[in-house]
Amino acid sequence: MAPRVPSLLVAAVLLLGLAAGVARASNEEGDALYALRMRLSDPNGVLQSWDPTLVNPCTWFHVTCDHASRVVRLDLGNSNVSGSIGPEISRLVNLQYLELYRNNLGGEIPKELGKLKNLISLDLYANKLTGRIPKSLSKLSSLRFMRLNNNKLAGSIPGELAKLTNLKVIDLSNNDLCGTIPVDGPFSTFPLRSFENNSRLNGPELQGLVPYDFGC
């Protein structure tokens, strides 16, 4: 009888801890989103409903949660926001759709985005993003849509992106990319217009030859 009571207590404590942990997790995602809000300048007030005192961000506008109150979509396309994306977004581990297109976002694409294992759609097009396309994006194994067009991205297209076997649509046009276009994996299906208007892009990579550094 005596040994049973402590184990019950332990179980109760664990349950409480779990409950607190779950609650905390939802709040963690709210904290991550709030950190993003702090980075952004929001003249249209689209983030006004983002109240960190709420138990989770699931009733914030432009945020979509699943049945377990985990954030699965962030829809801020065409919202006139500026600032940088920042690494905090990578804490939304269940995120499937990251829609930040057609804004005035600057800075680099955070390499931490590579942690979003469930990401299906990455739409950062029509912003003012600079820097390279991070190699870590090759870890987005669920990714089907990658649209980074109409930015100021430089550097080469990481060959590792060919590992994204689920990738159906890519758009890297209208940037400042250089080097060659990968040809293996899903890249064999992409039309050339997905890469157009990159003045320093040299065309499809020629396989079988010694790689030539084009000074990219």
Binding site: Q48, T59, F61, S69, D75, S121, F145
Partner: protein, 608 residues
């Protein structure tokens, strides 16, 4: 000499006068230090608490002293990571303490009976110490000066002691989420100064004592999330809760959701002037007695998931101009029948309308020109709810296909849910003028006709659910303008044509949201073959043509066979019949001979 004597005696006298005071302060310091020694941990801010330091007691962290007398009047140990019990704290050392706060720590053990020694206490707050157990001590009744008693999110058990009725100065009683069991003691009626009564999220059983009617200053009453039951008495002997509460013309908030109440929700509740919130969801109410006739101040009415059987249109006073401030009307999951009356359009401030899961018939009203609550985007102005407690004004809404607790405080959500009824006829064009809508759910009805062309005007719409209706025609091209849409469902209708393309629409990639329609095509479904007609239509036509030919041939075969046999009876004369038969026989004979000869030829060549 005499002067010196006088001086010395005066000083001695003064010293002796202050001695007991100093001794008391020393006692307070000793009590705190002795208690601290029993704690397993804290966050380090108690380092200044030590006996050598006792002369500077009033400068210790978390302590506030009376500036003149020097004794402790406030002890604020919120968020100090205390790990230990209260058992060794000598409460009798603090006869002058006015405020004690122990929120957000790791205290365990029980609340000791010694707490009754804090006779000057005005405010007692012990929340969020999940390991604090045991019952509320009866000695709590000794705290005659207590104005605010707040115990929440504790692991307590046991009942609310009757002695709580002795706290006649009490203005706020908040015992939220402390696993109280048993029933509410009738002595609670002695707390006539109470303005806030919060017993939510416990395991209370039994009825609400009618003595609560004595609380004429009550602003908030929250009994939600318990197991309370019975009927709320109407004008009957032996039970006059709410008629008595009518005496509390200040009553602002009634929260009794998630209990087992039954019967009629009495009218006398809302006969006075200040009621803003009625939260009575998830009970077993069967009706709402009379109407909210004189209740012009109502802002939020929630009767979700009861057993109310009523014709929606015959509660006219609800829906009359006497509710100008109504913003949230939630009547989901009841048995409301009849049509949605036009009077509902008179609620100028209405932001959230939920009539889902009822038995409503007829058409959706069309004239929304007065619906200012939904026509424009709502600014995040704090709606004045007096209650500043734990549950705030939280309701559950189904938002983007999942249930979420929505906080009414900021008041920005705008939505309409009429799903799972028997509504018919077309979706009115007037709905497209409600530009403030963030969600619209009309699924599970018998709506027909086309989706209004101007649906794309609802640029704030994040969730649109029209599934399971009989809508026909195409998806309006204006859908491409729905820039905020993150959840869409048009499945199980009769829609056809090309799915519009758009920047936001192309992020809705799940084909099941368009499934079970007549002939939709385009991303994310199969591509459209033809610019004017869909592939499905063409294939359908081809199949039809094939079927037609099949029928023709079968008919021809039947006619031929019929005449071949029965046509012979047209030949009246026997000679003609015989001649015909002979002819046919001859032909057969010739054909057989020919085949035979050919075959023998063939076999001979093979075997040779």
């Amino acid at each position: 000499m005499k002067r010196i004597h006088l001086l010395i005696s005066c000083t001695c006298f003064l010293l002796s006068a202050t001695a007991p005071v100093r001794a008391n302060i020393h006692r307070e310091a000793a009590a705190l230090v002795n208690w601290k020694a029993t704690l397993a941990g804290d966050d380090g801010s108690l380092a200044s608490w030590s006996l050598p330091n006792s002369t500077s007691l009033c400068r210790w962290l978390h302590i506030t002293c009376d500036p003149k007398a020097g004794h402790i009047i406030e002890l604020d140990l919120q968020d100090v990571s205390l790990n230990g019990t209260l058992d060794e704290l000598d409460f009798s050392a603090f006869p002058h303490m006015k405020e004690l706060r122990l929120n957000n720590n790791g205290l365990h053990g029980t609340i000791p009976t010694g707490i009754g020694n804090l006779t000057s206490l005005v405010i007692l707050e012990i929340d969020t110490n999940p390991y604090l157990r045991g019952a509320i001590p009866r000695s709590i009744g000794q705290l005659k000066n207590l104005v605010q008693l707040q115990l929440a999110f504790l692991g307590l058990d046991g009942t609310l002691p009757e002695e709580v009725g002795n706290l006649t100065s009490l203005e706020a009683l908040q015992l939220n989420s402390v696993t109280l069991t048993g029933s509410i003691p009738v002595t609670i009626g002695m707390l006539v100064k109470l303005d806030s009564l919060d017993l939510a999220h416990n395991n209370l059983t039994g009825n609400i004592p009618w003595e609560i009617g004595n609380m004429t200053k009550l602003l908030l009453m929250d009994f939600s999330w318990n197991y309370l039951e019975g009927q709320l008495p109407r004008n009957q002997l032996g039970g006059h809760i709410f008629p008595e509460l009518g005496n509390s013309s200040l009553l602002d908030t009634i929260k009794i959701a998630k209990n087992n109440f039954s019967g009629l929700f009495p009218s006398s509740v809302y006969q006075r002037g200040a009621l803003k919130t009625i939260s009575a969801g998830y009970n077993g109410f069967t009706g709402i007695q009379q109407t909210f006739q004189n209740c012009t101040t109502l802002v939020s009415v929630d009767f979700t998931a009861n057993n109310i059987v009523a014709e929606l249109g015959t509660i006219p006073s609800w829906l009359s101009r006497s509710l100008p401030g109504l913003r949230f009307l939630l009547l989901s999951s009841n048995i409301f029948y009849g049509i949605i009356p036009h009077q509902i359009l008179q609620f100028r401030e209405l932001q959230l309308l939920d009539l889902s899961k009822n038995r409503l018939t007829g058409s959706i009203p069309d004239d929304f020109t007065n619906f200012t609550g939904m026509i424009q985007e709502q600014e995040p102005i704090e709606i004045e709810f007096l209650y500043n407690g734990f549950d705030r004004e939280v309701i559950e809404i189904i938002w983007k296909n999942a249930g979420h607790a929505y906080n009414l405080w900021k008041g920005v959500m705008v939505g309409m849910d009429l799903s799972d009824n028997f509504l018919s006829e077309e979706i009115p064009n007037g709905l497209t003028t409600l530009l403030g809508l963030r969600y619209l759910n009309l699924s599970g009805n018998h709506l027909l006709g086309c989706i209004p062309n101007d649906m794309g005007n609802l640029v704030l719409l994040e969730s649109l659910d029209l599934r399971q209706n009989q809508l026909s025609g195409g998806i309006p091209p204006s859908f491409a303008a729905l820039m905020s849409l993150s959840v869409l469902n048009l499945s199980y209708n009769g829609l056809s044509g090309r799915i519009p393309t758009g920047r936001q629409l192309q992020t809705l990639v799940d084909p099941s949201i368009y499934s079970h329609n007549l002939g939709l095509c385009g991303f994310p479904l199969e591509g459209c073959m033809n610019s004017s007609t869909s592939t499905r239509n063409e294939v359908g036509q081809a199949v039809d043509r094939e079927a037609l030919w099949l029928y023709c041939f079968v008919a021809a075969g039947f006619v031929f066979g019929f005449w071949l046999y029965w046509g012979m009876f047209l030949f009246y004369s026997e000679t003609w019949r015989c001649a015909f038969h002979q002819y046919v026989d001859n032909m057969q004979g010739k054909a057989t001979k020919k085949i035979y000869s050919c075959m023998s030829c063939f076999w001979s060549t093979v075997w040779c």
